[in-house]
């Protein structure tokens, strides 16, 4: 039987690096802290390389869509044209902080993202209505009622100030909502620690190692 020695070797490297960084976080020994810093520097460089690999993957996916004439290939062509244009501007017209690059950022990227934000607000209102329609339960009513109450009382209505309304809003947000959020966050923190440690000790390997 053929044994793949690469897999346990890579897993051991991943586990050892993770353990050194973790111990370096708790134990401030000079050598260990330096090693931790070095590993983190490498991680930053590798993340930058991964970003390039990711963009190449993005371009390949859209190129294939254009080549095979899949639905939405016009949008893929637009994406590819924008990518090429941006790369050309950054390379030949003064780098990422040049006036041309900033023009692209301010007059193309920002308006597009702002438009998506506008679509998102409409989508959220629609989703809210659909939720009530889909599941008419006591929990949904509490969720919807609280969200509406907090939204309405967040505005300053001219000539409309019911006694105690603002205090009630503060009480809901600072006592009930904050307590609930903290409870959820404690659970999430425990889950995140367990997941991280499982990966670190090699009990769970959601990668090919």
């Amino acid at each position: 039987m053929k044994t793949n020695l690469r897999v346990p070797f890579l897993a051991a490297i991943a586990m050892l690096s993770g353990l050194l960084v973790l111990v370096g976080y708790f134990v401030p020994l000079p050598g260990l802290s330096d090693l931790r810093g070095l590993f983190l520097d490498w991680a930053v460089v590798l993340t930058a390389v991964a970003a390039i690999v990711g963009v190449v993957n993005l371009a390949k996916v859209h190129w294939r869509k254009v080549r095979t004439g899949q639905p939405g290939s016009v949008f893929s062509l637009t994406t590819l044209a924008s990518l090429v244009l941006t790369i050309l501007v950054v390379i030949f017209l003064g780098g990422a902080t040049s006036a041309w690059s900033l023009w692209l950022f301010n007059y193309a990227l920002v308006p597009i993202e702002a438009s998506l934000l506008a679509i998102l607000s409409v989508t959220l209102i629609y989703t809210f209505a659909r939720m009530i329609n889909r599941r008419f339960t006591i929990f949904n009513l509490i969720f919807a009622g609280t969200a509406l109450f907090i939204l309405i009382t967040a505005f300053a209505w001219a000539g409309f100030d019911i006694f105690g309304l603002r205090d009630l809003r503060s009480w809901i947000m600072q006592v009930w909502a904050a307590a609930g959020a903290r409870g959820i966050l404690l659970g999430i923190a425990l889950g995140a620690i367990a997941t991280g440690l499982r990966v670190l000790i090699g009990a769970d390997r959601p990668y090919s190692g």
């Binding site: 134990v27 990711g54 993957n57 998506l116 889950g191």
Partner: protein, 245 residues
């Protein structure tokens, strides 16, 4: 030196390993979470109907708290890929961060290697759809619409932009199951999806998908530490009340 932190980590690991060793082969009763029941039936239904499964990992990267939900998403992807990779329409994963996209490709490759069908591996099955939250969502929406998806699983770190993906799934007539470590995303998922994972339920995915004894041990360890935290909070409140602290 942070001795308390180190002790916490040491105890956590010791319990994780100890409970993992003792609970091996022991079946543990888990409370029912509708999302996981729907996930199991949804995978089967997609394979039978020749439809695709779409898993979105969000845009949190692999560092910090968002990284933990990314790793959970990758574990779910591994389980989904193992079950559905033999289908005519293999699963597809979308990410909003490069390292996640590479890891999702790695998961697909290792699954195809495991089942002896490496030639079927397509690197484009793990896609980077955008590098900012909104571009990621905008890039994931065509996957939901055009790739004959019957089940969308959103498992990772998202923000409010996840509503756009969930809405696209609703309009495409596909089912969506979603979980995140982000509170904003959880609120959005509660309103927009049929089966949201609330709180730390996402981190229980491994145990529910029978990913191994370590996941069951992890759940038990979390429960033990949760009770310890509750006791510490109650003791702190009582001490404050009587003026000791």
């Amino acid at each position: 030196m942070n001795w308390l932190g180190l002790l916490f980590v040491f105890l956590f690991v010791a319990l994780l390993l100890g409970l993992g060793a003792t609970s091996r082969g022991v079946k543990r009763e888990l409370r029912e979470i509708p999302a996981f029941a729907r996930l199991a039936s949804g995978i089967g239904a997609a394979v039978e109907a020749g439809r695709r499964l779409h898993l979105s990992l969000g845009h949190g990267g692999i560092l910090g708290q968002p990284g933990a939900s990314t790793f959970m998403g990758l574990s779910i992807l591994q389980r989904i890929a193992r079950t559905a990779s033999v289908s005519d329409m293999p699963p597809i994963a979308t990410s909003g961060e490069s390292v996640q996209a590479i890891l999702s490709q790695d998961v697909f490759q290792s699954v195809y290697q495991t089942i002896g069908a490496e030639s079927q591996f397509d690197p484009n099955s793990g896609q980077l759809t955008g590098l900012s939250p909104f571009s990621f969502a905008a890039g994931a929406m065509p996957v939901v619409f055009d790739q004959q998806v019957s089940l969308n699983v959103l498992a990772g770190s998202f923000g409010s932009e996840a509503a756009l993906i969930a809405d696209a799934a609703e309009r495409a007539g596909s089912m969506t199951l979603a979980g995140s470590e982000n509170l904003t995303a959880q609120a959005v998922f509660y309103a927009s999806t049929e089966a949201p994972l609330i709180g730390e339920e996402l981190f229980a995915a491994g145990a529910y998908l029978q990913a191994g004894a370590s996941h069951n041990a992890s759940l038990m360890t979390q429960d033990i530490f949760r009770w310890l935290l509750i006791l510490v909070i109650l003791a702190g409140a009582a001490a404050r009340l009587v003026g000791v602290w």
